[in-house]
């Protein structure tokens, strides 16, 4: 369960990206965050794995007040949150397989067990055949799916995706939406930031969804 209470976020330089945002996400919900470019969607998502910290208010994740969490504890929080970044953050100096196994290496999972899980994740997004390629040789849609595989390899209970379909044409975008709906079905809490109404429409046709709309840092009622 995720709960934002009166969250304010001001960036260095003085810009207020979030102005008193409060909402609750139940377990196994599929939630969209929409709004214009610059509305604060990415900022909102970054507060959950504490990539940014709030200036006032609080963010609770599974009963923990993560906005006041000690730096030491943050890695362990992040291991339970699958993240898909707006700029993907793939490593282009290693193979697809090595990209996916990274979160498991980070936690010290046994290499054999890790390889099994990484292949399972790649299989789920349909990239098992490309495991030896370099991400640079993948098309835009394939790179997006690779980012998803890396986010789910740790079997997180929360999945956060920031514009996972930008740069993709509607066919690829649709496939990726379907993947998120599938994860949501097996009990994962999914939060997706997007400005693409087609994406929301497609997901809503297949599952129960909810949308939060941000306008210049304020949540529409």
């Amino acid at each position: 369960m995720i709960e934002f209470s009166a969250v304010h976020k001001r960036y260095p330089g003085g810009y207020e990206a979030l102005k008193g945002v409060s909402f609750t996400v139940a377990d196994a919900e599929l939630l969209f965050v929409t709004g214009h470019s610059g509305a604060g969607k990415s900022t909102l998502l970054k507060l959950i794995p504490v990539i940014e910290r709030v200036n006032s208010g609080s963010v609770m994740v599974n009963g923990q007040n993560v906005s006041a969490m000690a730096a030491r504890a943050i890695p362990f929080l992040r291991r339970n949150i699958g993240q898909i970044f707006q700029d993907q953050k793939l490593l282009y100096d290693r193979s697809v397989f090595d990209n996916v196994i990274l979160p498991l290496n980070v936690t010290g999972v046994h290499p054999k067990e890790g390889a099994k899980r990484a292949r399972a994740a790649l299989d789920k997004v349909g990239l098992l055949k490309r495991e030896k390629s370099n991400p640079i040789a993948l098309s835009g849609g394939e790179q997006q799916r690779l980012a998803i595989a890396r986010a789910i390899v740790n079997r997180p209970s929360i999945l956060i995706a920031d514009e996972p379909t930008a740069n993709l044409d509607s066919q690829y975008a649709g496939e990726i939406v379907d993947l998120f709906v599938d994860f949501n079905r097996v009990g994962v809490t999914v939060m997706i930031a997007t400005h693409d109404e087609q994406v929301i429409a497609r997901a809503s046709a297949k599952a129960t969804t909810r949308s939060l709309t941000l306008t210049q840092g304020v949540l529409a009622p």
Partner: protein, 303 residues
Amino acid sequence: MMAWLRLHSMAFAATIAKLARTPFASVLNILVIGVALALPAGAYTLLINLQEAARGVSSDPELSIFLALDAKKDDVAEIDKRLKAEPLVASATYKSREAAFAELKASPALGDVLAALNQNPLPDAFVVRLKMNAADALDRLATGMQAWPKVEHVQVDSAWVRRVAAALKLGQLSVLVLAALLSVALLAVTFNTIRLQILTQRDEIEVSKLLGATDGTIRRPFYYYGALLGLFGGATAALMVWGGISVMNAGVADLARTYASSFSLHMLATGDLLAILAFAASLGWLGAWLSVSRHLREFEPRN
């Protein structure tokens, strides 16, 4: 526990792989560190050798024996007898306190001051010249004499001892200054190298942090890298010193021949070598620590 061990061994393996992947840069860095360490190590080796040489070359060591102020004629005679009986003593010259006082009063610098004294502050003394081969036993002998009756103080103050002491003091000072300067160089090299590593792996570090890597997991490979860099640098330094000594021994042979001596330089003792390696590895670790502490901060989530 198993996971912890695995994290450590993975970090270590990754470090070795990293060194091997950039052989050119690694060799350059190790070379710089090697040179930086070789210089004080080499100088230290030379100093040790000089100390040994000084001990061998010096001839005619001298002792001064100062008697108590209340020593009587009998006491002086007793000391004289004992000195004659001592097999290591080549010759002994008695200088009475009166003669010493007169001599000092005649000196232009102190004459006026001493003339004003109505008491003689100087003791009776013997200047003892020892046999050449007594050089090693010098200290032992002096300690023994110290226990003789009415002996106030025994001073090993012959000219050569003072000269050698001054030269070696100078040498030690130089080695210390050198070691300090070059430790800074070693630190700087590891510091910069680790900074380079961090920059090269910027993306990997950022992504790992986002995926939940602890600070320790991220820092560890850099510490290993720094320590290994230092260690290999230390080994290179040892090799360089060894090579330098070998080359110099050729030159020293020339020099020694003109003195009709068969003097040659020796390598550092194993203990000293190990100390240098340990020192180099620690400095490498420290440089890595400084660099990591300074440069990884960039990846902290800001407030």
